[in-house]
C-alpha cells in the first residue's frame, strides 16, 4: 500500500533517497559529428553575411582565381609557384582576421590531408615532389576560399554568366544556397532533439537516423511546393534573368594581376 505522507506535511521516503541513476554511455558519434558539421556550415554562412568587401567585380575576381588555379596546376616551375604563393599569401595577410581564419582553416585541412596521402610517394620516387603538390593544393584552396569569403553568393552566381552558364542553372544554384541553410536548420534541430531526448542507452537512436533524413526529404518536397506557390503568386513562369555584372575601373586590378601572372607563366612556367 502506498503511504500518503503529503497530507501530514512530511516528505515521502522515496523523495529523501539519493538518486543513484547514472545514465549508461551510448554510442552517438554519428549525432555529434553531424551536429558539428552543421554548426560548421552555419558558421560559414553567418560569416558570409557580413557584407561585400571585395575591391573589384565578382566576374573579374572569379576569372583571376580560376586563372591562377589553372596556372598553379599546370606549372612545374618553382619560381612561378613562389610568385603565386607570394601573391596569394600577401593578399591573405592583409585580409580581415575572420576571413583569414576561415580561408586557412579550409586550406590547411585539405593540405594536411594531401600531405598524408602523398607522403608514401616519397618512398616510391625518392623525391620531395609530394611537398610541391601539397603546396599547390594549399595555394589553390586558399585562393578559392578567399574568393568565396569576400564576395557574396548572389554576386558569384551572377558572375557565372560570364562563363555562359544557363540562367536556369544559376536560378537552381541560388535556390540551392538558400535551401541548404533552411534544410540545414531543420536537420540540426532534429538531430539536437534526438541527442537531448536520449538519456542513457537508446536503441532507437540509430533507427531515428532514417526518420530524420526521411522527414528532411519530405520537408524539402513541402518547401519546394511552397516555393512554387509563392513563385506562381509572383507570376513566375520559368524565365529567370540573372543580374549582369558590369565592368568598372576597379576590375582592372585583378585583370592586370592575371596578365602579369600569365606573362610570368609564359616565361618561367
Amino acid at each position: 500500500m502506498v503511504r500518503n505522507d503529503l497530507g501530514s506535511g512530511s516528505i515521502p521516503d522515496w523523495m529523501m533517497k539519493k538518486n543513484e541513476y547514472v545514465p549508461t554511455k551510448d554510442r552517438e558519434g554519428f549525432l555529434t559529428k553531424s551536429l558539428l558539421g552543421f554548426l560548421r556550415l552555419f558558421r560559414h554562412f553567418s560569416m558570409r553575411g557580413r557584407g561585400d568587401i571585395s575591391v573589384a567585380g565578382a566576374g573579374t575576381e572569379l576569372v583571376l582565381t580560376l586563372g591562377m588555379i589553372i596556372m598553379i596546376a599546370m606549372t612545374d616551375s618553382g619560381v612561378f609557384l613562389a610568385c603565386a604563393g607570394a601573391g596569394i599569401l600577401g593578399v591573405l595577410s592583409f585580409s580581415r582576421i575572420d576571413i583569414m581564419k576561415r580561408a586557412l582553416s579550409t586550406s590547411l585541412g585539405v593540405t594536411a590531408f594531401t600531405f598524408v596521402i602523398m607522403l608514401p610517394a616519397f618512398f616510391l620516387y625518392k623525391s620531395l615532389g609530394f611537398l610541391v603538390l601539397s603546396f599547390k593544393v594549399f595555394l589553390s584552396v586558399t585562393a578559392l576560399s578567399l574568393l568565396t569569403s569576400v564576395i557574396p553568393w548572389n554576386r558569384i552566381t551572377a558572375a557565372l554568366r560570364l562563363f555562359k552558364m544557363p540562367n536556369i542553372l544559376i536560378f537552381v544554384l541560388d535556390m540551392t544556397i538558400h535551401y541548404i541553410l533552411l534544410l540545414g536548420n531543420v536537420a540540426y534541430d532534429m538531430l539536437a532533439a534526438l541527442k537531448l531526448r536520449s538519456i542513457g542507452k537508446n536503441k532507437d537512436k540509430v533507427n531515428s537516423f532514417s526518420g530524420i533524413l526521411g522527414t528532411l526529404f519530405m520537408k524539402s518536397v513541402a518547401m519546394s511546393k511552397e516555393t512554387e506557390d509563392a513563385l506562381t503568386c509572383r507570376l513566375f513562369e520559368g524565365r529567370y534573368d540573372a543580374a549582369k555584372t558590369d565592368f568598372g575601373i576597379k576590375d582592372c586590378i585583378p585583370l592586370f594581376t592575371l596578365i602579369i601572372f600569365i606573362i610570368l607563366y609564359i616565361f618561367v612556367g
Binding site: Y125, S140, L144, T176, H178, F236
Partner: protein
C-alpha cells in the same frame, strides 16, 4: 571520393568536364520536359537536400560512422536526371564552401558522383525491380524494393570509386615533369585501384547501402507517392526510350576519352628533352625516372626543378620567397594577436 585540386592534371579535368557537358545538357533538358516550368524550384531544393544529406554521418555497425553520397537514393526519389543536377550542384557548393573537391576537378567529381553513380545505381535498381516485378512506388513488396535500391547504391558507389581510381591511376603514366617524376597524383593504377576499392567495397559501400535503404524505407512507408515513378507524368514507354538513349550518350563519353590517349602521348613526349627521350626508350618504362630522381637527391633543385634559372627568375624567386616569408609571419602574428585580443576582452568582461 571527392578529388581535390591538383591531384588530376588540368588536361584530365578538361576532358572530364567536356564529357560531363552533354550529360548536364541532357539532364537539364529531360528535367525541363518532365517538370513543368514553375516546378523548377524542386531541383534547387533537391540539390540542397543532396548537400545536407552528404553532411550526415551514417551510423555504422561497431559504433563507427561514414559519409554517403546518396546518388542512387536521389535517383530513386527524384529520378536520375534530377539527381544528376542535384548532386552536381551539391558538389560545386562543397568545393566552394568546404574545399571538398577541387574546382578544376569539379568535372571529374561530377562525372563520378553525379553521372556514373546515380545513372548506374538507378539502372541496377530499375533492372532488379523489373526482375522482381515490383513497382517503384507504393508500400507493396517493400523488401524487394529495398534490396534493389541497396544493390543499386552499392554498385553505384563502387563504379564511381573505380572511375576515380582510374582517373588517379593514369596520372603518373601521362603527366611527368622534366625530371620524369609525376606532376600530379603519383600513384599508378596498381596502387590507386586497390586503395580506393578496398574502402568502398567495405566501409563506404556499407554506409551507402544503410543511407539509401533506411531513407527509402522511411519515405516508402510514410509517403510512397513521393518516390520517383509514382507520378503519372513518367510513362513506361518514356522510360524505355530514356534507357535506349543512354547508349549513344555512353558512347559519346567513351569517344570523349579518346583524346586523353593522344594527349598523353603528345604531352609526355613533348615535355622531355631529346636526351630524356633516349633514356626512356632505352631504359624502358619503369626505369625512366627513378635514376634522375635519385641523382637529384633532396636538394632544392629537386623540389623546385626550375628554381635556378639564369638571370631574372633567380631574383624573382628570391623576392617571392621574401614576400612569402613576410606574409606567413604577418598571418601567424595576426592570428596570435586575434587570440590574445579575445582573451583580453574575455578578461575585461569577467572583471566587470
Amino acid at each position: 571520393m571527392h578529388i581535390p585540386e591538383n591531384y588530376l592534371s588540368p588536361a584530365t579535368c578538361a576532358v572530364m568536364t567536356a564529357a560531363m557537358v552533354p550529360v548536364w545538357v541532357r539532364a537539364v533538358k529531360n528535367v525541363k520536359t518532365e517538370l513543368p516550368k514553375e516546378k523548377i524550384s524542386m531541383i534547387g531544393v533537391g540539390a540542397a537536400f543532396s548537400f545536407v544529406g552528404m553532411m550526415f554521418n551514417v551510423p555504422m555497425p561497431g559504433g563507427t560512422t561514414g559519409h554517403a553520397v546518396g546518388g542512387t537514393l536521389l535517383a530513386a526519389l527524384l529520378g536520375p536526371d534530377a539527381a544528376c543536377i542535384a548532386v552536381s550542384m551539391a558538389l560545386l557548393l562543397q568545393a566552394l564552401i568546404f574545399g571538398d573537391g577541387g574546382i578544376l576537378a569539379f568535372g571529374a567529381n561530377a562525372f563520378n558522383m553525379a553521372f556514373a553513380m546515380p545513372y548506374i545505381g538507378f539502372a541496377i535498381y530499375s533492372l532488379l525491380l523489373k526482375l522482381f516485378k515490383a513497382a517503384p512506388a507504393g508500400k507493396e513488396q517493400m523488401t524487394k524494393k529495398l534490396v534493389s535500391a541497396g544493390v543499386g547504391s552499392y554498385v553505384g558507389i563502387n563504379a564511381a570509386a573505380f572511375l576515380a581510381a582510374i582517373e588517379f591511376g593514369i596520372q603518373p603514366y601521362l603527366f611527368k615533369d622534366a625530371a620524369g617524376r609525376p606532376m600530379y597524383c603519383p600513384y599508378g593504377l596498381n596502387v590507386s585501384i586497390p586503395s580506393m576499392m578496398i574502402g568502398h567495397l567495405t566501409i563506404f559501400g556499407l554506409a551507402e547501402i544503410i543511407f539509401t535503404v533506411a531513407i527509402l524505407a522511411y519515405v516508402l512507408k510514410t509517403s510512397p507517392n513521393l518516390v520517383h515513378g509514382a507520378l503519372p507524368t513518367h510513362a513506361e514507354g518514356e522510360k524505355k526510350k530514356r534507357f535506349a538513349s543512354m547508349l549513344p550518350l555512353l558512347l559519346a563519353i567513351l569517344i570523349a576519352f579518346v583524346p586523353l590517349g593522344l594527349l598523353a602521348e603528345g604531352t609526355a613526349w613533348g615535355e622531355w628533352g631529346s636526351d630524356e627521350i633516349a633514356e626512356v626508350v632505352s631504359d624502358g618504362e619503369t626505369l625512366g625516372y627513378v635514376p634522375s630522381g635519385m641523382e637529384s637527391g633532396f636538394s632544392l633543385e629537386a623540389i623546385i626543378p626550375d628554381y635556378a634559372i639564369e638571370g631574372v627568375p633567380d631574383i624573382v624567386g628570391y623576392i617571392a620567397s621574401a614576400i612569402i616569408g613576410v606574409a606567413v609571419l604577418v598571418i601567424i602574428f595576426r592570428l596570435i594577436g586575434s587570440v590574445s585580443g579575445k582573451k583580453k576582452v574575455h578578461e575585461i568582461e569577467h572583471s566587470v
